[in-house]
Symmetry: C3
Subunit: 437 residues, 3 copies
């Protein structure tokens, strides 16, 4: 029996989906960008590298692009630390484009050309309803059969860039596992917001892309229900690192861990973003915004002026937030401030808590309290805060997601071990790789 | 013919879904919490009480939990004012867990054990696609048959805590009513955001749950399309009553009336929240926020300082909001302030308007204007405001939702009559129970 | 083969869906409002006019309403510049209502009554699941057959005002094209938020409608996936023009171009809103809000006080935003301000950019940079800003949506040519009708 939520591939998480043009006109070596990408290592190397023979490459250069992919992957594929998934041409409305994509896949995966063994799968753009996905799947089945490759050894990832494809993600569970297809080869569901916006005929005054929260939810849900991995589309403003990070934060809260990267710098940012921070930090909620506090001599200092605090007598304080002013005793002040603070745990903190819960569970306890303490300093006033959180099986399992991600990275990306150890220290890395087993 | 949107159960609305551990280790009486919950009455007693033999109870205590449920429900079930729906163990990925849940249901519903006649149905957690829902349905069909209970007399509620289950809610209309199942027994669709977050592999920096607006929409829509009742998951921060209320306000705007409750205090808050307020109140929109005005001597007083108003001459006023300052005559001022005010009607107001519309309809009118008047006081300036709202058949029917809810509560929860009469007065209660028939 | 995303009707875009009561009691001429609407021309005339024999007309007047529709359309239909789609009665839960709607459609479309040739289709309210849509489709098939009209010559538009109908929009692709139905006649998917709110049993404190973002997304997606046109429901506060515009901006970012209109003034606003502006404008992002700058002598002036700028020395500036203050040199200042500005292109700008890209493409280039320059003035400081945007095939095609809309309007609404030329100038209009071919 086929379990559609079982994952049929090596990586449980994919942080980065990095595309490179396969052939650039007017260069001495039209494969220059491919060659450069193939030699990326460490945090600058993506989890999934996509030699892009579709939109990133001019239509007239795409046959040359196929040759370049074959050459570069044959030469560098053995040493490339991530997976390699070329994007071929495809279109739900155009049989000619589909046939061309099929031929390109046949060439790239031909063992006689030398690249085949390093090709993990293909990325299919512009898919429509699920029957169109099956046509692409059938092309790969034929490619495998013609070249004597194992059935389903080529994975298939799709770009979701039409309403039809968005709807198709709701049907995957029912379609995967039918005898007439090999859709178990599915791997990534990647949103393509530029073409999706065009297909939906959406418009914004400045031409910037709409945020499409429902599409991202549906992609993440589709991935979850069919055992696949969800990846968000390109973030065009490559100078805007903070915006890119914010987008990834939003995505992770939707269960979408991966994102497209357009440059090695974006790859590095996106490889790092989903990993727990190396040190914890405290946040103070001021006027609906989370302000990060400044650690100094073991205290957490608030340096803004939207909130102020004054000691006005024995066990008496005045707390001002915006236009609001309150006189409080010490206990009331403690409670007010506790409500406004939250803690972002470090990798070390998460591992600590998980280990403590595992120990408690072995000794028969179902829930334990984890305590986080600090001293909050606002102006001249200092307040000791202590926050308990109950950990039970559910908390434990939810906390495990970033650790499972880390372990997946650690297992498959030995080229990043050094950078991970620099970041967290060898001890934390070792404990993090062993916890939760 | 089966109409899938027809409701196959007594309650049209469920405000509260209150879980109690079935067996707590280390207590003299492991059923202590069950016993206490079974004796709740009035606003502290939930519409649906859930002896929870799954996550709230340690795995090693679950067989004892089943005995406790049987004992406590046999003793107290006859007098309990709400419905009783134990949660048994279940998992889409684990046949052993499913078989254990089946056995627990067989025990609990065995008439020889004395609890059966007070058991309204079972809650099934961790369901997957709709075929997994059918397996749980089949277990209950067998339980009914083995114990000589009427077919479908046991209702089935599910916890939606996976992407698969979220998708399944879109298929219920097509599946309910097929001869091979008894899915007409479905009752509640309950979101379980903790496990859903884990299943979606979502992460937030502080570990708090994502808001999942799309899941809640889809649950509410699934309930609406299949004649079921939608219930939101637990709100963990039990001290944060205002946050709990805000969550319920959001939920009601999505059509989700019910919510999980973890304590009798949460039950009381959640039983009360969806009922119309006992007195109306005026809101003033200041900088995008709705500020509640202070009623005083028949006027509505604004006491903030983000908006100010000054009479500067004969029929001339200066209105300041944030950095913006405008000189207006009386008519312009009236219009500006009217745009910024809104009215939250009381139960009495709603009943009044409905009665007035019913009278108008009998005399052949299709629409009437309802007027709401007050005097707004900002600083030394007072402005008389009067707001007309057209009521037609559609307005009437939309306004009916809170009244229908009230009537459903009044019909099924006689233990709350006294508290409802204290809240609204006997006259309003009587009119509210009769209007809209 | 039927391509479900191919559009089976004339208009690619519908901006306005304007309903008129078919018979008003107590007037000398019960068809007065119909007659007035039928004579609207230019920007006040809708793309789709809906003589509304359902909610806008009292139940007792609906037979007379049918006669009025026939009379007024027979007299004015030939000259009406938009399409004509009467709304008949229908309800998923009531066969009597469905049969009455069927009879009304038979009457209205009867060629002997003289209106038939001007009727483009019918609007069906209160539909349920897709099988209910098929019943309405079958009624229209019989109407066509009885009256000797071409199969599918009557289009069918539906009001989505139940959870069932929302779900049905996900199944259209699979149902359209089956031999047993004529669902290719589908044209508009129109949200009906008042009844949807009632059907979902949603409540808000003041009785205002919830925003239902997911419904609008699903309607837009359903339209995109099945080659239909998405239209938002009525905006009740007809005095609130800015609110209506804001709702349409939101809708367009979701791919929903059309909206219901209740008055000729709303029609005019909604016919204009999706068209590109006649002149471009610059926006400055201040505290998360986009503030429109004031063009003056070729500069763009910021007149607010939330952001200020001061020259404090040779190539040294102080920029203050909210509580934040920074000392910057000229280059840093340039970059900071560039990050905060954006440009809303005019129709002329869009046509320019498209023409430039078309020329570049002909000469073999795949991407070109478009430059937008201006001088930003804050207090006494002026800064020259220049912003490049790369245009490739994808940018080009996304930019095309408003132009395609314009061309669709220009082709089908010759009564609006004069107003369009007044707005844009004859030259821009001519270039806009020819670009992108």
């Amino acid at each position: 029996m086929t379990d559609p939520t079982a994952r049929h591939y090596d990586r449980e998480f994919v942080r980065t989906f990095f595309t490179s043009p396969t052939a650039v006109e007017g260069e001495d070596d039209s494969a220059k960008l491919l060659r450069r990408a193939a030699q990326l290592r460490g945090m600058q190397a993506p989890d999934v590298w996509v030699p892009d023979n579709e939109d990133a490459t001019a239509p007239s250069m795409r046959d040359e692009g196929v040759e370049n992919v074959v050459d570069v992957v044959a030469e560098h594929g053995a040493d490339f630390p991530g997976e390699i998934h070329p994007r071929i041409v495809w279109h739900r409305d155009d049989p000619q484009t589909r046939y061309r994509g099929f031929q390109h896949a046949l060439d790239i995966a031909d063992p006689q050309n030398g690249a085949s063994e390093y090709i993990d799968g293909f990325v299919i753009p512009e898919v429509g309803g699920v029957d169109d996905w099956k046509k692409a799947d059938e092309c790969l089945t034929i490619v495998e059969h013609e070249h004597g490759l194992d059935p389903r050894s080529l994975s298939m990832s799709v770009i979701v860039e039409s309403g039809e494809a968005e709807l198709a993600m709701g049907d995957l569970r029912e379609e995967i596992g039918k005898s007439e297809n090999n859709l178990e080869r599915l791997f990534l569901l990647v949103d393509g917001e530029v073409d999706y916006t065009k297909d939906m005929r959406a418009m914004t005054p400045t031409g910037e892309l709409p945020p499409w929260p429902e599409l991202r939810h549906n992609t993440s849900r589709g991935a979850s229900a069919a055992g696949l991995v969800a990846v968000d589309g390109p973030y065009d403003d490559i100078r805007d690192v903070e915006g890119y990070r914010e987008r990834m934060r939003e995505n992770r809260a939707k269960g979408m861990t991966g994102i497209w990267s357009l440059t090695p710098t974006q790859v590095e940012v996106a490889n790092t973003a989903p990993l727990p921070p190396e040190s914890g930090r405290w946040l103070l909620d001021v006027d609906g915004e989370s302000v990060e506090l400044d650690p100094e001599d073991g205290r957490q200092v608030y340096r803004g002026n939207a909130l102020s605090l004054e000691a006005t007598g024995e066990d008496q304080y005045v707390l001002r937030v915006g236009g609001d002013e309150r006189t409080l005793d010490g206990d009331e002040l403690h409670e007010k401030l506790l409500d406004r603070t939250s803690y972002v745990p470090s990798m070390d903190d998460i591992v600590d808590s998980m280990e403590a819960f595992e120990t408690a569970k072995e000794s028969g306890k179902g829930a334990i309290a984890m305590t986080q303490s600090t001293t909050l300093a606002v102006g001249d006033v200092e307040v000791d805060l202590s926050r308990d959180r109950m950990w039970d099986e559910a908390t434990y399992q939810a906390a495990q997601t970033p650790i499972t991600l880390f372990q997946d990275v650690y297992e498959h990306r030995s080229d990043q071990h050094e950078e991970l150890e620099e970041r967290y220290g060898a001890d934390v890395v070792e404990r993090a790789t062993n916890v939760g087993g």
